[in-house]
């Protein structure tokens, strides 16, 4: 292909890696965002004796390098005999890591909604949960979105670290080809980079689009 020794077989091998990258990103973001929403709401309103322990756990998840978390959790689950497959381990660890970041994003978003606006909602007879659903989360989302998009793009690249537990995602699949065809290393990495970009670009465009749309009303 293009006068190189890279074959369609190599490309399709990388594409299947890219598929795994996407799948891990999807599950990590889904789980992490849902957990982050719950923890963020708790963090935004809880007394210190709830906030302090929760905050500490989330801090640990955010500070310990992801690579270490993958390996430790993977070893732990095999020691206690869970026999989870590496893909599931990867998604679970990354989801917890995402949740830790997402919690702070959600907390910040909730706290960005002025108390006076919330009081106006409550004074109309809306319950706490109605206020949260109808006013606070929609308004907070405008604040959360840019950070959340950034988190998504970051998590997508962080998926590369699951190679440590034996999942062959996009970057690992590229490396495997490189070990067989070292003289094509640059081309292969360029193709891998392009694949990451093709996946990331629409996400960041979607973010920019939503931001612009919402700003029109502000």
């Amino acid at each position: 292909m293009f006068g190189t020794s890279i074959t369609w077989g190599d490309i399709s091998f990388m594409l299947s890696g890219a598929g795994l990258t996407l799948a891990i990103t999807f599950w990590a973001m889904l789980g992490g965002t849902l957990a982050g929403l719950v923890f963020g709401v708790i963090r935004a309103q809880s007394p210190w004796y709830v906030n302090y322990p929760l905050g500490t756990v989330l801090d640990v998840l955010r500070s310990v390098p992801l690579l270490i978390q993958f390996i430790l959790f993977n070893s732990f689950q095999s020691i206690i005999g869970l026999n989870m497959n590496p893909f599931v381990v990867g998604c679970a660890v990354l989801a917890a890591y995402t949740a830790a970041f997402c919690t702070e994003i959600v907390r910040g978003g909730i706290l960005s909604v002025p108390t006076t606006t919330r009081r106006a909602a409550r004074s109309l007879g809306l319950t706490y949960w109605q206020d949260l659903r109808e006013i606070v989360l929609p308004l907070g989302t405008r604040v959360m979105l840019p950070s959340w998009i950034g988190l998504t793009l970051g998590v997508m690249k962080d998926t590369a670290l699951v190679y440590a537990i034996g999942v062959i995602e996009l970057l690992r699949s590229s490396q495997i080809i490189i070990t067989r065809k070292p003289h094509e290393a640059l081309v292969i990495l360029a193709i891998a980079g392009l694949m990451y970009f093709i996946v990331s670009f629409p996400v960041s465009r979607l973010g920019a689009h939503l931001e612009r749309k919402w700003r029109e009303n502000d």
Binding site: T117, A121, S123, N217
Partner: protein, 240 residues
């Protein structure tokens, strides 16, 4: 009837209400005047339970607001409140701002809620702004929308918390006109305000607040023309 009985409230070390008592009958308009930080706004927030109180009690139609078993969300349907910062919900159109509580709190269908909301918005002169977002409205228009939003719930009482204080001077008149309209229609109102002329004109009674206490309460004629307390006279001298 709203009955406020010896209410005390502190924020930390600061005692903002030091034993406030006042009764407002149905159909009455009571204005509350006094300097900034005298506790006027805090008292309004206590009436619909947005702020807890430390001592005393507040009864709205016989229901004790701060009793443990009081359903505040239900109670608040009867008490509309309009704030100094107009507090529009910026992500909703004027119509959606007004129908939100009708649909979520009173469970009305979209059609019914729209009908009620449009009527109220036309009442305050915003019938042509239904699809607009609050950011496109002037402060006076947003404040009138906030009034319509509260009125749509058909409250028995309306509380106004310095609703013209954050407005440009030329926009104050339109909001006061809307409130005057309400007063003339017989709405029971407690109006915390710095607009002395307005207080004098529309009120049945005027209360003077200072340092967390009502120093004097009486008809506008009594209070403005022959105040009994020197504090009242001093305050009036400083603002008139």
């Amino acid at each position: 009837m709203i009955e406020i009985e010896n209410v005390k409230k502190s924020f930390g070390q600061l005692e903002v209400l030091k034993g406030v008592s006042m009764t407002v009958d149905r159909g009455e308009v009571v204005s509350v005047i006094g300097g900034s930080g005298s506790g006027k706004s805090t008292m309004l927030m206590c009436i619909n339970g947005l702020e807890p109180i430390d001592e005393g009690r507040i009864l709205v139609d016989g229901t004790e607001v701060h009793a443990k078993d009081t359903d505040l969300n239900k109670l608040r349907r009867n008490i509309g409140i309009v704030f100094q910062q107009w507090n529009a919900f910026p992500h909703l159109t004027v119509l959606e701002n007004t129908t939100l509580a009708l649909r979520k709190v009173l469970g009305k269908s979209k059609k019914d809620a729209d009908e009620i909301a449009i009527k109220q918005l036309e009442h305050v002169g915003l019938g042509d702004k239904l699809k607009m977002y609050p950011s496109k409205l002037s402060g006076g228009q947003q404040q009138r929308m906030a009034i319509a939003r509260a009125l749509a719930m058909e409250p028995k009482y309306m509380l106004f918390d310095e609703v013209t204080s954050a407005l440009d001077p030329q926009l104050v008149g339109e909001v006061l006109d809307t409130m005057r309209l309400l007063a003339n229609e017989g709405m029971t109102m407690i109006v915390v305000t710095h607009e002395m002329a307005f207080a004098r004109e529309v009120s049945n009674r005027v209360a003077f607040f200072k340092d967390g206490l009502i120093h004097e309460i009486g008809t506008p004629a009594q209070l403005f023309e022959s105040p009994e307390r020197p504090e009242t006279a001093d305050f009036l001298k400083s603002v008139l």
